[in-house]
C-alpha cells in the first residue's frame, strides 16, 4: 500500500479522536445506562471506529488483534510500538 506518512498520521489521528469519543461516552453510560441518546452515540462511533481500524490494519498493520485480517505478516509485533514516537 503506497500511502504517505501524512495519510498514516491522519488515519491515526482519526482513530484516536473516534476512540476517545467512545471512551468518554462509556464512562457516562456506566452511571447513566438508560440514556438512549448516549447509547445511540456509542453505537454510532463504534461502527466508525471498527471501520477505521480495519482500514488501518490493511494499510499499516493492526492496532488490535481483532482487526488483523491481512493474514500475511506478523505486523502486530513488527510494526512500530506507540511509545517510539516520531509519527502519529
Amino acid at each position: 500500500m503506497n500511502k504517505s506518512m501524512s495519510d498514516r498520521s491522519r488515519l491515526s489521528h482519526w482513530i484516536n479522536m473516534v476512540s476517545f469519543a467512545l471512551n468518554d461516552i462509556t464512562l457516562y453510560l456506566d452511571t447513566h445506562p438508560d440514556d438512549t441518546e448516549a447509547l445511540e452515540y456509542f453505537y454510532h462511533y463504534q461502527d466508525i471506529r471498527n471501520q477505521a481500524l480495519k482500514e488501518y490494519a490493511i494499510c499499516y498493520g493492526p492496532l488490535t488483534l481483532d482487526s488483523d485480517t491481512k493474514r500475511s505478516d506478523w505486523d502486530w509485533a513488527l510494526q512500530p510500538f506507540p511509545w517510539e514516537g516520531g509519527h502519529c
Binding site: 464512562l27 456506566d30 511509545w83 514516537g85
Partner: protein, 204 residues
C-alpha cells in the same frame, strides 16, 4: 480480561531529551498519586462493589488508567533515550540511572518505589468512592505541580491531556457516590455495608 491496542490514548512525540524532567514526571507512573496506583486501586475495588453501574465505572476507569500509565512511561522513555553520560551527570536522574540505566521502573520522583500502601480497597462502597474522589484530586494537583516545571510544549501537551482526564474521572466518581447513596436507606447511609452485610439484598 484485557486487550491491548497499539496506540497511545493521546500521542507522545518528544524531540528533546531531558533526564532531569523525566525524574520528576516518573511520579505519575509509580508515585503516591500516579496512574499505576490509580489503576490498581479501581481494578481492586470493583470486586466487592455490589452495584454493577459502579463496578462498570471502576473497571472502565481502571482500564483507562492503564492507558495513562503507558503515556507517562512513554514520556519518561522519550525524555531519557539516547543520552550521553554527560547529560545524566549532575541531574536528579543520575541515581535512577545507576539502578535502572534508561529502563522504565515505577517509583516516585523522590525515589520511593511503587507500593500498594499508597491505595486502599476498603470493601465498603461509600468509603471506596471517597477514596477515589480524593485520588483524582491528588493526581490533578500532581499534574498542576508538574506543569509549573515543564517548559517544553511537546511534554506539556500530553501532560495537560492527562490532567483534564483526572477532572472528568472525579465527576464520574461523584455520580457513582450519588448512585450508591440513592440505593441505600435515606435515613442512614451507614446503617449497613451492602458489600458485606448479607441481610441487605444488594440491588443489581
Amino acid at each position: 480480561m484485557w486487550n491491548y491496542e497499539k496506540r497511545l490514548q493521546h500521542p507522545v512525540n518528544i524531540k528533546n531529551p531531558n533526564p532531569q524532567l523525566a525524574s520528576m514526571i516518573i511520579s505519575q507512573f509509580g508515585g503516591p498519586d500516579g496512574e499505576l496506583g490509580a489503576s490498581m486501586r479501581y481494578l481492586s475495588q470493583r470486586y466487592s462493589m455490589p452495584y454493577r453501574e459502579v463496578a462498570g465505572l471502576l473497571t472502565d476507569i481502571g482500564t483507562e488508567e492503564l492507558a495513562h500509565l503507558e503515556m507517562v512511561s512513554s514520556i519518561v522513555h522519550q525524555l531519557t533515550r539516547n543520552l550521553s553520560i554527560e547529560e545524566i551527570e549532575g541531574t536528579n536522574f543520575e541515581p535512577y540511572y545507576v539502578d535502572h540505566t534508561a529502563g522504565v521502573w515505577p517509583q516516585a520522583a523522590g525515589g520511593t518505589p511503587f507500593t500498594a500502601t499508597i491505595f486502599q480497597s476498603k470493601g465498603d462502597p461509600i468509603t471506596d468512592m471517597h477514596e477515589d474522589l480524593a485520588a483524582e484530586q491528588k493526581a490533578r494537583t500532581t499534574y498542576d505541580n508538574l506543569i509549573r516545571l515543564i517548559k517544553d510544549p511537546d511534554v506539556l501537551d500530553p501532560i495537560r491531556f492527562l490532567r483534564a482526564r483526572e477532572i472528568v474521572h472525579y465527576q464520574r466518581f461523584g455520580e457513582g457516590l450519588r448512585l450508591i447513596t440513592d440505593k441505600l436507606n435515606s435515613k442512614n447511609f451507614y446503617a449497613v455495608n451492602p458489600a458485606f452485610d448479607t441481610q441487605v439484598k444488594a440491588e443489581k
